[in-house]
Amino acid sequence: MKKRTYIYRGFERFWHWSQALLIFFLALTGFEIHGTFSVFGFENVVRWHDIAAWAFLVLIVFAIFWHFVTGEWKQYIPTTKFIKAQISYYITGIFKGAPHPTHKTIYNKFNPLQRIIYLGLKLLVIPVQVLTGFIYMFYIYPNNPVNVSGLSVIALIHTFGAFTLLAFVIAHVYLTTTGDTPLSSIKAMLTGWEVVDVDEKEERTKHLQHAVDESAAGYYRIDKEGNIIDVNEAWLKMFKCKDRSKVIGKHYSFTRDKKNLKELDDLVKRVLNGEVITGLPATRQCMDGSKGKHLLSANPVIEEGEITGMEGFILDISETEELTEHMYYAVRNSGAGYYRLNEEGIITDVNEAWLELYKYDNKEEVIGKHYTITRRPTEVGQLEDTFKKVMNGETLSGKLAIRRCKDGSVGKHILSADPIFIGNKIVGMEGFILDISEIDIDKEE
């Protein structure tokens, strides 16, 4: 799956282009010092070459810092895997229109050849140039301050390094045209954005993780013994708890009063035996002693074939108390549906439960469509409203909505929606829906 992704960050681009300019400038002045041509005047080019050398050194220091702080240095760890494939791609495959043998992703920006070449530049060519350059700069006749008998060897190594860098630049500039389109790689290095492969599973996990973290639905996970391992912000909010550490590691029993605890004990037992619970109304006891109502789902956590705990979501229904009863039945019969929209309102992902609720057979039928297909014309306005609010940064939950299914029939659900951020930019909306239509429809009948 390909996706427009922000792969080169600001400093990285600044570093890349400054380095490119400096290498070009150093080569230009360096070869005048070398005697290859005479354009700017020897005295000038010597001074400029020195200044550019210092600028380069400063840039290198910052770049080293950046690579270690961001962990980006790992991108340069060499690998022999696919290196033959990469070479044969450049020699033959590229002419036959074969696909790139490796996939460019944000975690793997460089193909194996790039990794080796760039690492060679960083560890060999540039350090050698810097070292010989500084000996050249500070070596002033015999024994001062380093004892090399004359500049000859130093100068020749430095010259050779320059040739190597220039040959690299020629090949490098050309190979930028082998991306998706001839200019896409250069554009990417200018803007930071490029269409690269994304790992579907990883993307999904990431989005779900994000949805869980940010959504209005509370998430929890407990271990076999019933101790709470993880909760999200929404959960903490619902339980009126400000400090996560007061919850983690405690037994779930404190979340209920005695009256309601037995019910929960039963439920936990069932889930730990493998059952999946959806849409169960429950009364929680908050940290301040107050009570609240929510709908709860729970499923066993399975790790390496064994049930190691239980997790699920809770959706607050305190404010829509009159619906509680209906919801109980409704939600019991449905899983939570997950959906994700991009900034244009196009559906980019839904889960099985969502498909079932909307009576679609598979994802392909809806992915890529605008969200307006999910509403009757009279109700689209409401959803547009929700979308606008979320795209402006609001998080909504417990909203009642009437959906239009694939076959034209309608259903009722409550919906949560939260914005998706990349950096500071909102790039879409996602959330969960819980079905409550059974009861409503019954009543209407």
Binding site: G10, R13, F14, W17, S18, I33, H34, G35, S38, G41, F42, E43, N44, V46, R47, W48, I51, A52, A55, Y90, I94, F95, K96, G97, I140, Y141, P142, N143, N144, S149, G150, L151, S152, A155, L156, T159, F160, A162, F163, T164, L166, A167, I170, A171, Y174, T177, E343, M391, N392, G393, N424, K425, I426
Partner: protein
Amino acid sequence: MLTVKQSQKNFIKLLILFIAIITPWVIGYFYVKNIKDSQKADKVKLVNYKKDTIPKVNHSKFEILQQKFETPQQVTEACLSCHNRTGHDVMKSSHWNWTKDYRTDSGDTIQLGKKNIINNFCIGISSNEPRCTSCHIGYGWKDHSFDFTDSRNIDCIVCHDRTGTYKKFPTGAGYPVKEVKKFGNKTFYPPDYNKIAQNVGTPARQNCGTCHFVGGGGNNVKHGDIANEMNQVTKEVDVHMGLDGANMECVDCHKTERHNITGNLYSIASADTNRVSCERCHTGQPHKNTIINQHTKKVACQTCHIPEYAKVSATKMYWNWSTAGKFNDDGSVLIKKDSAGNMIYHSLKGSFVWKNNVKPEYMWFNGKAKHYVLGDKVDTTKPVQLNTLLGNYHDKNSKIVPVKVHSGRQIYDPVNNTMILPHLFGKDSTSYWKNFDWNKAAETGMKSVNQPYSGKYAFAPTEMYWPINHMVAPMGKSLQCTDCHSRNSRLAKLTDFYLPGRDYSSFLDWLGFGLMFFAFVGVVIHAVLRILK
């Protein structure tokens, strides 16, 4: 869909990035520009320089100088009657002794100088004294019998005469004439000793120049960088002595203490002592540009600041004795001159090459020199170095200096493999200039220095090396970087070190440009194939 706030934020980010990219270049640009401007306003840095302009005494008031002087020695006696330690000082000087200490290869210290050294001009003084010693600061050094301990023979006034009327006679063994006498087409008059003695003073350039401008028997023959025109020189020719420039006299740089005058000329000097240095006034770090200051560790000031010498009159570059002895058909002396009036042939001396505005040769020099000492064996398959400037790149005391190389072809003994000091001057039956018989001249000459002569003579190529120190060009006329740092370098002969801009490995350049070329060709072929498929 972006909120207004976020797009503002993005704009600011872009702006910061832009500023971050541009700023270093702007700073760099102004830094470079600033350096250039500050160099334009450069001024010559001077230390330790002070000029005495008012004479300490008025010699015309001294009674002893009112007496009627008959002989020059009487003048000297009068001088020494007051300056009663000066005779002693003068007699220790090399101007008097014409020798200096010299350490031979075997480690002995001997006295070496004009007394016993040869050159490739008029070769040597022994047996030719009356002619040569017309430039000695004494009276009567006509042969080996001259008494170097008699202070009455010191010629004070040749250096201290400020009337400009005192002249020694060219063949008078250091004496002026007693009555009017002609030498060639020049007339010499007996000096007015009283007038001269009452007008003595610190030596002016004319005093020094009377000998030093005309060494080798004519104007600018030997040095190339000092000549008679120094008396009327402009700063374009010599920034120090130019009448329109600093207007300095010789002794302003050649500082003197008790008649020991600083300055070595390595055609005869050999030790790194008693030298005159530019740094004394200009310091070792006279430039604004650090890199140029660093050059002073290995490059003498003269190298860059004397781009050429013999800027007015030509100097002699080659003297071939082997062609001497040809005459006009009528038997008279044959003299040939070039279009500029420089003598290129003379029956008595052979043929010459003169040059104007000469670019110096460059050599490593550490202030020490070796000399050919009479009796040393020579290898005449290559030019015999009569003096050798010592030094090389790896010697930390060596600097690159500009040098006038004077080539010669002169008489030597092919059996003993030694250079010959010929008897040239004299009215006797063996002098070359009377009899034109090299055999007799060689025999007499070598006998006078107690050296063997086999009876066979031939001519050998020789070279002398004269470091150039004068005719410093005005600011802005000195050498530029690329005079040396280029493929067409002035230092082409100094091959014992790597000089940026001049040196490169042609193998590496081929390899490097080849690498770039093949990368480029490879890329083009690859691209064409991609487009075609």
